[in-house]
């Protein structure tokens, strides 16, 4: 049975539509990440699931029951807010108690749950403190604890790491992953950070302008992006994009001519405008006379330790290549590179959709 189902869910503010017919199926125990740039509708979608925003159209089900008109409190969800939303006038213990009280569990059971959650999250020593007396990372854990004590059917996370510094973010990210493995609860998690999405998700939902661009495992969205948007959004540094025209079985652009890989079959029509995508790591330095070698001028070199990023100029195109550090070249030098043909992504320029099967 699916934990959460969105069928053609729409959100409008007056005449402005911000979420356009989202379809999504989340299985029991799955960790699903809504990923996209700000304003893509991911947070609004999450808030509709939480019941904090009205659903303007379509159906939203949790645990098989349609909840469009169900109040947040009756949905059996728990949410971790971006700014944690801890009640400042209550201690950590009281924050958790406050979340438990509507469940009418009895004092002993409440205490047991709080102790258990505090144990898991390492909050035992902090239970009597107020939020103002906690560090950012501690507050974050209290926010998770407050959600966990309720043992909800679904956890909702709204950019939970965005207020932490880089080092803490990595640590808490790892903790969230571990927690999910341990509890096995369904999670819907919103972020704009692709690293969080790639490391945590069982399934990534990439959104843009209120539409779902692609749904897939982290491997799928990285290896087989369905659109230029997904291709450039996932991966760092982002994928190089070159606009070409298919001419006689080759993709031709200024200073560049590559045969259409056979796996695209006859989906590339002669004369079609095709965007060619290649990840920086798939551009290799080769000898001048190697097959497929292209001449490129090095504009900028960024040394990163293990590897180096080269800003290359090929014809009138800028390409970024990621090479082993010992292969880096000085700015102004001319080098020869080859695009790894098996890693080429082709997109129809006009629609932005992938031409892969």
């Amino acid at each position: 049975m699916s934990a959460i189902t969105l069928h053609n869910v729409v959100k409008k503010y007056g005449a402005v539509q911000v979420v356009h017919g989202v379809d999504l199926d989340i299985a029991e125990g799955e960790f699903v990440v809504l990923l996209g740039p700000s304003g893509c509708g991911k947070t609004t979608t999450l808030r509709m699931v939480a019941g904090l925003e009205d659903v303007s159209g379509g159906t939203l089900s949790i645990g098989g029951q349609v909840v469009n008109d169900v109040a947040p409190k009756d949905r059996g969800v728990a949410m971790v807010f971006q700014n944690y939303a801890l009640y400042p006038h209550m201690s950590v213990r009281q924050n958790m108690e406050f979340a438990l009280r509507p469940m009418k569990l009895g004092k002993a059971e409440m205490d047991r749950r709080i102790a258990q959650t505090a144990g898991i999250l390492g909050l035992d020593a902090l239970l009597e403190r107020r939020p103002a007396q906690l560090s950012g990372g501690q507050r974050q854990r209290v926010a998770m604890g407050r959600a966990m004590v309720r043992t909800p059917k679904v956890f909702l996370f709204d950019e939970p790491l965005s207020n932490l510094d880089a080092k803490l973010r990595t640590q808490v990210r790892w903790e969230i992953g571990k927690l999910h493995q341990r509890l096995g609860t369904t999670v819907l998690y919103v972020t704009h950070d692709q690293v969080e999405a790639m490391t945590l998700a069982d399934k990534i939902v990439i959104m843009r302008d209120g539409h779902v661009e692609q749904v897939g495992t982290p491997e799928e969205v990285y290896a087989a992006p369905k659109s230029t948007f997904v291709a450039t959004f996932i991966g760092s540094p982002s994928m190089n994009m070159i606009e070409t025209r298919a001419t006689g079985g080759r993709l031709v652009a200024d200073g560049l001519s590559i045969p259409v890989p056979t796996r695209f079959g006859d989906r590339v029509k002669d004369g079609q405008e095709v965007t060619l995508g290649i990840r920086p790591i798939e551009i290799q330095r080769v000898a001048e006379n190697a097959p497929g070698a292209m001449a490129a001028r090095v504009e900028v070199t960024e040394y990163l330790g293990n590897e180096a990023l080269l800003d290359l100029r090929v014809g009138s195109h800028d390409l970024m290549a990621e090479v082993p550090a010992d292969q880096r070249a000085a700015p102004g030098e001319t080098v020869h590179v080859r695009l790894n043909e098996t890693a080429l992504h082709l997109f129809d320029t006009r629609s932005g959709r992938s031409l892969a099967q």
């Binding site: 939480a50 019941g51 949410m79 807010f81 700014n83 009640y87 407050r146």
Partner: protein, 274 residues
């Protein structure tokens, strides 16, 4: 700001000294005159050292039921404060949370209710309360003072509610609380300082008010401000009693200033200066 030279510092303290003397002298006069024996009340130069007497205070409570008038003032002030806080903070919460362009108009309409000249509505009040048989009752004053206290509470509390993050209320909603419960358990406790400030302002305004108390009460519901004034209208001015009564009346206001002066700006300008 620029660093001050010693000369400038001395000049500033001198000017400040003059200002303080001018603004505090009348208050000192009330306090000292209330304790001065009548013969030296107007002695010149004024006596700074004298044997204080409590005869004026004794007279005050012996000659007229001044205790009762103070009790009336308290009943009216507390009644109006409780009523205004209840109604005002609910309205303020609604105004703070409903995002709609008309809400601004509603808020300004409520504020403008406080600004109308009381004298303009004294006649209608008089006739209405007379008809309703409410003349000379504390209830009449409680109602009338609330017209000033509700707008004040709405504006002050709106500012405090605006500062409570909505995410906290959303968290409570997801945790299983309804709107009223969320308001009472999360929002209101966090706006508690606002509630205290509003309460004090409502109390002081009602306690100090004179015009309506004069027009709408007689011997039964008379408040302390009207009673003090009545020592003046008789043929001999009883300065001792006036000063003793005045001193009692100004105590709550002075305590308020000394204890929560940091909220005064916000209250007196209705939140337009924070």
């Amino acid at each position: 700001m620029n660093k001050l030279s010693t000369r400038q510092t001395i000049l500033i303290y001198l000017a400040l000294g003059v200002v303080l003397i001018v603004f505090l002298m009348p208050i000192y006069l009330i306090a000292s005159s209330s304790l001065k024996p009548s013969p030296i009340m107007f002695q010149k130069p004024p006596a700074f050292l004298f044997a204080p007497t409590f005869e004026h205070y004794q007279d005050l409570f012996a000659m007229r039921p001044f205790g009762k008038f103070i009790l009336n003032s308290l009943i009216v002030a507390l009644g109006s404060t409780a009523f205004s806080l209840t109604i005002g903070s609910l309205a303020a919460y609604a105004i703070s949370r409903i995002r709609h362009k008309r809400m601004n108009d509603v808020a300004f309409w409520i504020l403008s209710m406080r600004m109308f000249p009381p004298i303009a509505v004294v006649v209608p009040y008089y006739i209405i309360f007379k008809t309703a048989g409410l003349l000379d009752t504390p209830l009449a004053l409680i109602i009338v003072y609330s017209t000033a206290n509700i707008p004040l509470t709405v504006w002050l509390m709106k500012g405090f509610f605006d500062e409570v993050p909505i995410a906290l209320e959303e968290a409570a909603a997801v945790d299983g609380y309804g709107l009223l419960e969320t308001f009472l358990r999360v929002t209101l406790p966090l706006a508690a300082p606002g509630l205290a400030v509003s309460a004090v302002f409502c109390f002081i305004f009602s306690w100090n008010e004179f015009l309506f108390a004069l027009m709408l009460t007689g011997s039964e519901a008379q408040t302390a401000t009207v009673a003090v004034m009545s020592f003046w209208s008789s043929d001999a001015v009883q300065w001792g009693r006036i000063m003793a009564g005045s001193f009692i009346i100004l105590i709550p206001g002075v305590i308020f200033v000394l204890t929560c002066q940091r909220w005064l700006v916000r209250g007196l300008t209705m939140g337009s200066v924070k």
